[in-house]
Amino acid sequence: MDIIAKERAEVTVQIHRRTLARFVLFLLALLIIADVTVIMQSHSMALELNRQQVNKKLSLAGDFCVEAILKGDYVSVEQFLLAWAEGYDEVLQLKATAANGFLLVNYQRKQNSPHTLTATHQAVFQNQPVLTIEIVENLDALYSAQRLNALTLVGLSIVIVAIFGYLLWTTLRRTVFLPLRNEIRDHQKAQHELTLRGRELEISNKDLEAFCYSVSHDLRAPLRGIHGFSTVLNEDYNDKLDDTGRDYLRRICDGATKMSLLIDVLLELSHVSRLKLIIKEVNLSEIATDIISDLQFQDPERKVTFTLQPKLIVNGDHQLLRVALTNLFNNAWKYSRLKPQAIIIFSKETSEKGKDIYCVSDNGAGFDTQYADKLFEAFQRLHRQDEFEGTGVGLATVKRVIERHHGQVWATSTLGEGSKFYFSLG
């Protein structure tokens, strides 16, 4: 039991750990998606800003060039653009083309880059193109900065998630797992105590059963004496007793008979509890058929319709199941005797959970269902002795047999219309 509890605790912790890991991974993925979105937006904005700046620079350069060209000062244009391109490290290439296609400036830096920005500006004067300046800028620095930003952002996200995950795990461990483990430990303790109590109870029950068996067995001899001598007294000294004496003698005989019956059923109950189970395939339909034959043989005058479902086969102890079925059929036989046409049915149903449930039903006197919980207790009777005789031990015996098979037994009834006794086997 301890091991199972421990395993359950471990499984619970594992499940929580996995859930937390999934959550942290999800959070990380979410943050990285957010990071990527931010980085991409920032990258686009940086590119756009760069493009705007380049266009602005080109526009200013274009204005200067137009002014110089209008004055015929091409050397200034050439020198300015070359100096400008040379001065800006990010300029990889600069071309200035006159309106007639002449390449006035063709600057090419001895450097390449996979990340470039190409911008073109047409300088005009009085709506006539004067000079077209095309520039290729190196965006390596921008990309490097963006890459660094991206790495920083992703790194920060990982660190944040790691710290958050660690804190969450620590908190969970303090607030959930440790109390859970304590609870499990307490539960284990309680289970252990319960087991000890159970064993004590089992021992005590066995002692009680042993006591009950010895008492019942030992009582038989004196009881047989009482009954025997009472019978002899009644037969040999009947004429010497007055009516009152004979009545007393009769009462002694009845009492002894009743006591003998009680001892029998107590012995049977004790037997049922003590018997070592021999589990094998048992055909309940066959047992039921035997019991019914016996009942009909004892009272052939009664009109009873039996309905039996054939081949109701279970795994259990043949002897004990026979005892249980005998008690159930005896009850059905007994409580339906006032019906002119009694009906007794033995059938199998299947529960919602797919479990086999067996039922012995009759159309007899039934019982008040508010006392149904007392029905299976020993010596508890719901009918007066003068209505239906009995010891009040039969259903207790049935319950003991079914419980020994790890099953359940219960009953439903409608007063005056009959009862249904259900049982399942574990």
Binding site: I69, G72, D73, Y74, V75, V77, E78, A98, A99, N100, F102, L103, L104
Partner: protein, 284 residues
């Protein structure tokens, strides 16, 4: 008369104040340069030559940059400079105005003491002869420039293409502007010195005509310079390319200079004739 002396004194003070401070130190030589580049660059370029002259003569040499070409000519003509570096046109004008000057040496560029220029158009254009330039836009460099204005202007005139026969012309300040302006399509033809033409030929220029060979830039001396000093300086200049570090000195003045070589006044006769003819049509 009473006021004459103070007046003359005042004028002398004003003239003295306004005049450039030349030859104020008796024992130094003045090397005058015409302002074809910035004063700072010229000082740097000519400092090694000044050092050579100084070593040869044993006198300190001071570099003087004129305010403009005309002032330079005037300073040389009025013997305010001991040695002067000047262009061919300036020399011709100097002699015409002030008479013959003692000539020290002229430049030899890539082995030649003469230089040429080109009248050109775009290689893709239909202009093939000077006559084709009629009715076209023409680009000159500086109005005083030998190869980007004066000589080509004379050639055009000789070919029957006067200013009136052109659709228009402009002075763009320097040779490279002329080449680039023609290449850019703003002008149909232009004129530049040989060096600039060859530098830009591969970009799409075609030569229409070549100018006559003209004598290179030269160094002249003050007429009052003692003959002994003149000879020492001349000798130092003409042997400079053979001296240790001489080529560095020469190339400091012009990268393509290979030597300073002897020069005679009649080396400039063809230019003199061109300028004379140009003057007759009002181009100076």
């Amino acid at each position: 008369m009473k006021y004459l002396s103070p007046l003359l004194f005042g004028m002398a003070v004003i003239i003295f104040t306004l005049s450039p401070t030349f030859a104020t130190v008796a024992d130094e030589l003045l090397l005058g340069i015409h302002p074809y580049k910035s004063a700072k660059i010229l000082h740097k370029s000519f400092a090694p030559l000044a050092e050579v002259i100084s070593r040869a003569t044993g006198k300190p040499v001071r570099i003087v940059i004129a305010k403009d070409y005309q002032q330079h000519i005037q300073q040389v003509g009025k013997s305010k400079l001991d040695i002067a570096y000047m262009g061919p046109v300036s020399y011709v004008q100097l002699v015409a105005r002030y008479g013959p000057m003692p000539m020290l040496a002229r430049l030899e560029i890539n082995g030649s003491p003469t230089f040429q220029g080109h009248i050109f158009a775009r290689a893709t254009d239909t202009i093939r002869t000077l006559n084709d330039i009629k009715g076209k836009q023409f680009a000159f460099g500086n109005p005083a420039s030998t190869m980007s204005h004066l000589v080509p202007r004379h050639m055009l005139w000789k070919a029957g293409v006067g200013a009136e026969n052109l659709a228009g012309f402009d002075f763009l300040g320097n040779h490279t502007n002329v080449a680039l302006a023609v290449l850019s399509g703003k002008y149909d033809a232009g004129a530049v010195k040989e060096e600039v033409f060859h530098k830009n030929k591969s970009r799409g220029l075609r030569s229409i005509a070549v100018t006559p060979k003209l004598s290179e830039h030269l160094f002249v001396a003050n007429t009052n310079l003692p003959k002994q000093q003149f000879d020492i300086i001349r000798k130092a200049m003409l042997s400079l390319h053979q001296q240790k570090n001489g080529m560095v000195t020469l190339r400091g003045i012009k990268k393509t200079m290979t030597a300073l070589v002897p020069v005679k006044d009649n080396d400039y006769d063809n230019l003199r004739q061109i300028l004379k003819e140009l003057a007759s049509i009002g181009v100076k």
